[in-house]
């Protein structure tokens, strides 16, 4: 049964990974606008790259808005 001692931290690690993903998604604001993404995906981008901001990539800050 001592295999449990390995399995428990492992399972916590996996679950923690999902929690981390959720936290990341919330902080990126993915729960704030649920109306636009379903529309956005309807338009093909024909492989054109998303623009990089003109000078800096300062827009990634989580305290935006």
């Amino acid at each position: 049964m001592s295999v449990i001692l390995i399995l428990i931290p492992l399972s916590l690690l996996v679950a923690g990974g999902f929690l981390g993903a959720f936290v990341w998604a919330v902080r990126r604001g993915q729960f704030e606008d649920t109306g636009t993404p379903p529309l956005r995906m309807l338009a093909d981008d024909e492989g054109t790259p998303r623009p990089t901001p003109p000078t800096t990539r300062s827009s990634r800050s989580t305290h935006e808005h």
Binding site: M1, I4, I8, S11, L12, A15, G16, F18, L19, F22, V23, V26, R27, G29, F31, E32, D33, G35, T36, L39, R40, L42, A43, D44, E46, T48, R50, P51, T52, P53, P54, T55, T56, S58, S59, E64, H65
Partner: protein, 840 residues
């Protein structure tokens, strides 16, 4: 209006409109237009062609593949320097979201966003200008956040770029100060996530004990699992439950009992009891119950807090006023300045459709002021030169110049916002049903817990006494009770939203259930703004005459002419020549060989026709005379039409609910509304916004719970003062004054059904309390004997929560389906055309 303001996108002259035989749709905006000369895309105007070519040249042709005619007519001539005021540091700094000196991000409200192509085009804006970075569109709010490089573009140029492709930013005074309220705060989502994570894991740790696996492996694992559960529960206790601690602390400081107090007590009891069990090695506690409890409670909060962020419930005049106006300098040149910089004595230039931003004096030009939104007066007013114009009036005539007399914040209209009703913060979370019950509940639970503890203590069993005391607090922790209200009210809120009734929050349902006096505004609330009841006095018109008059009236944008044209119905199109219109006077035109003159008696005389029997026609407002070929032919009496089914509105109200009328309009229609409201009703006409507010306050002082139903800024005070303020909107998302409810105008006649449904929903909340009380009785019977085992708790808590939630949402849904308040036809609100905020 055909008064000299020809713009790029003005509809084609009326003569062409009638003459063109075949119609095709404009490639850009879909407006019917004449077919193009060679084979190729057709355009209705030069503005549309320009945008089309601009997009094609920049590889944005896909715009036209994503949606049929996705564009919007370009509003007006790109007036140079139109947005220059945005570069003024005082305006700019208050408008942008973020800047680091090199990159700036600004969020513009773009009412023209309406389809998937708009989202795509705006998010590809960077292809139109190298200085533009990423753009994010929020479709539901019709907003676009644009990043741009400061060294390549100015803020005004970004606005002009958006304007040039048909997305003029809607810049309002209120945009100056930050917004960004989120529908559900991020913190709440994170709290739910943490609680859910811990719930799942502690449950796994508890299962071995529930199934008696102890016997197999001895107590070592039990201690390990207990310790791990304890560690995992710390974030739940400290982070997820944070709001309950804060709220309980506030309750103690204000000496008010709220629902959060027994919840916090329960959480504390569970945690302390469990910690003691784990540390003393006597058990492994109720940590799974603790996490589960918070998970369900927080889910209830998310469910209830999801508001309709497309709608703003807190708007005031600053959302109605533009951000900038045209000021005429000493040299006679007009420039746009921010409203905030406007002083007294400034000379302003107003075009057709512009608002008067501050009380002002008319200097030059023919003013036709539409005060319907401000005073409720349905008829536009034609002031003489030198007359005083009130802030909030809308110019319907051509170009006028005015001089401001007062600062923007102190006008006739804006002074309303200095009233007490607007100052005090409304505390509508306290007097709810839940809090009403929780006050008794908390004392009862504490009493039972102490009694049970005392009983076992006196019989000498100290351990059991402690266990029964905490056990009562744990079991009675009103999880189910606390869930009944949020889920019922949240469900009611959603069901109502589908029916065109948008509530500020769930508690409004409870306020609606208490309403016993309903006060209606007239103009725009009971009457529909774009309908007219037209009666023709005179010998009936024959078919040819109808066609001729309809063509002339249809060429004007004046509301009276529109009403007449609509009343004459579909007629074969005929060409209109020599069209002339004088704002506030009338129309004249030639159709074939017939001369048509429509308008006031004076206007007819001016055009060489007698005005007929003027005495019979009387001086009644809304009378439009008609002369054909120089002879008086009759007069149209036009009055605003009532909304459908309004005649049954008052009689259908629940018993004991009274209905009154408060109108800012003149009492010329008193008889009509007296018949509608019945003899007992109090009908008041000619009320100022302040008088409306006072009247509501008077009713409240008489012990009534008042619901005010209104639409205009003149109702803003009354809406705010009322226990439930209901703002009526023709288009959801259009400007409406601050209110508790935003009501789709089509549902105004269903107000009685709304009140009935709210009463039923409040009944469901009470029934939910009864169901959860039953569970509490079962749980307490275990707890008082001091024999509450974790497994009973672990079963009882989720089962009671789930049944209460299912009961509340199911019953509310069933009641909504039975209510005559039917869902609105599926026009898919998100796909509806954009709302023109400037035209409420």
């Amino acid at each position: 209006m055909f008064s000299g303001t020809t713009t790029l996108s003005e509809p084609l002259p009326v003569t062409d409109r009638a003459a063109a035989p075949a119609r095709v749709a404009c490639q850009h905006c879909g407006t019917p237009c004449p077919p193009p000369a060679p084979e190729g895309p057709a355009f209705c105007c030069a503005g549309c062609r320009m945008v089309f070519e601009l997009l094609q040249d920049n590889g944005l042709g896909q715009f036209y593949a994503l949606h049929q005619a996705p564009g919007r007519r370009v509003e007006r001539h790109p007036e140079a320097g139109r947005f220059d005021y945005l570069d003024d540091p005082t305006v700019r700094d208050r408008l942008v979201d973020f800047t680091d000196g090199r990159t700036t991000r600004v969020t513009f409200h773009l009412p023209a966003i309406h389809c998937v192509a708009c989202v795509w085009l705006l998010e590809n804006l960077f292809r139109l200008h190298p200085g533009i970075g990423r753009t994010r569109v929020d479709f539901t709010r019709r907003e676009a956040a644009v990043e741009f490089a400061d060294d390549r573009l100015k803020l005004s140029e970004v606005a002009a770029l958006l304007d040039s492709i048909g997305y003029p930013p809607d810049l309002r005074l209120a945009h100056l100060d930050g917004r960004g309220r989120r529908p559900v705060p991020r913190r709440l989502w994170l709290q739910v996530g943490v609680a859910g994570f811990v719930f799942g894991n502690t449950m796994l740790f508890s299962l071995p004990q529930y199934f008696g696996l102890d016997a197999l492996d001895g107590p070592a694992f039990r201690r390990l699992f207990g310790a791990m559960s304890l560690l995992l529960s710390l974030p739940v206790l400290l982070y997820s439950a944070g709001d309950y601690w804060r709220s309980t602390w506030l309750s103690f400081r204000r000496r008010r009992m709220t629902m959060d107090v027994p919840i916090a007590l329960g959480i504390a009891a569970i945690f302390l009891q469990s910690t003691w069990e784990v540390l003393s090695g006597t058990g492994e506690g109720y940590f799974d119950t603790l996490a589960g409890l918070l998970f369900f409670l927080l889910c209830g909060r998310v469910f209830q807090q999801r508001t309709y962020d497309r709608l703003a419930f807190d708007r005031d005049y600053r959302d109605f006023f533009p951000l900038a106006v045209q000021r005429v300098g000493p040299d006679g040149r007009a420039e746009r300045v921010a409203l905030a910089q406007l002083g007294v004595g400034d000379r302003l230039r107003l075009q057709h459709g512009d608002l008067v931003p501050a009380d002002a004096r008319l200097e030059t030009g023919e003013a036709v002021m539409d005060y319907s939104f401000v005073t409720g007066e349905a008829e536009p007013v034609v002031p003489a030169c030198g007359a005083r114009l009130h802030a909030g009036g809308r110019q319907l005539g051509g170009l006028v110049e005015v001089t401001t007399l007062k600062p923007v914040s102190q006008g006739y209209l804006t002074s309303l916002w200095n009233q007490d009703a607007f100052r005090k913060q409304r505390d509508d979370t306290f007097n709810t049903l839940t809090n009403h019950y929780s006050r008794r509940f908390t004392w009862l639970v504490l009493g039972i817990a102490l009694a049970a503890g005392a009983f076992w203590a006196t019989s000498g069993q100290t351990g059991r006494a402690l266990h029964s005391f905490t056990g009562v607090l744990i079991v009675a922790c009103p999880c189910a009770l606390a869930l009944a209200a949020p889920f019922t009210l949240g469900a009611a809120q959603r069901l109502l939203a589908r029916r065109g009734v948008f509530l500020r929050n769930g508690e409004v349902v409870e306020s609606l259930a208490r309403v016993d006096a309903v006060v209606f505004d007239k103009t725009g609330t009971l009457t529909a703004p774009h309908t007219a009841e037209v009666v023709f006095h005179g010998a009936p018109l024959d078919g040819a005459e109808r066609a001729v008059v309809a063509a002339v009236a249809g060429a004007s944008s004046h509301p009276l002419a529109r009403g007449i044209a609509a009343d004459l119905g579909e007629n074969p199109p005929v060409a209109v020549d020599n069209f002339a219109e004088r704002a506030g006077r009338g129309l004249a035109a030639t159709v074939g060989c017939r001369r048509v003159v429509l308008g006031s008696a004076a206007w007819l005389r001016e055009h060489g026709s007698s005005a007929g029997d003027e005495t019979r026609a009387g001086a009644a407002a809304g009378l439009v005379h008609l002369a054909l070929d120089g002879t008086w032919r009759g007069a149209f009496a036009v009055r605003a039409g009532l909304r459908p089914r309004t005649e049954r509105l008052v009689e259908e109200l629940p018993p004991g609910v009274t209905a009154d009328l408060l109108s800012g309009d003149q009492p010329r229609e008193r008889e009509r509304f007296a018949a509608l409201f019945g003899p007992a009703a109090d009908l008041r006409f000619g009320c100022s916004p302040l008088e409306k507010l006072e009247r509501i306050r008077g009713l409240q002082q008489g012990g009534r719970t008042v619901m005010m139903v209104g639409d205009g800024l003149n109702d803003a005070g009354a809406l705010r003062q009322a226990d439930v303020g209901v703002a009526v909107v023709e288009e959801v998302g259009a400007f409406s004054p601050a209110s508790d409810v935003i009501l789709d105008a089509r549902q105004v006649p269903q107000t009685p059904a709304l009140l009935r449904f709210a009463r039923q929903a409040a009944g469901v909340v009470r029934a939910g309390f009864v169901v959860s009380a039953l569970y509490n009785v079962i749980g307490l019977s275990f707890a008082v004997t001091g024999r509450l085992s974790p497994v009973v708790c672990a079963i009882l808590m989720p089962v009671s929560s789930v049944t209460v939630v299912a009961f509340a949402t199911g019953l509310t849904g069933w009641l909504a389906r039975r209510s005559p308040l039917a869902p609105l036809p599926m026009t898919n609100a998100d796909q509806s055309p954009p709302t023109d905020v400037s035209r409420p």
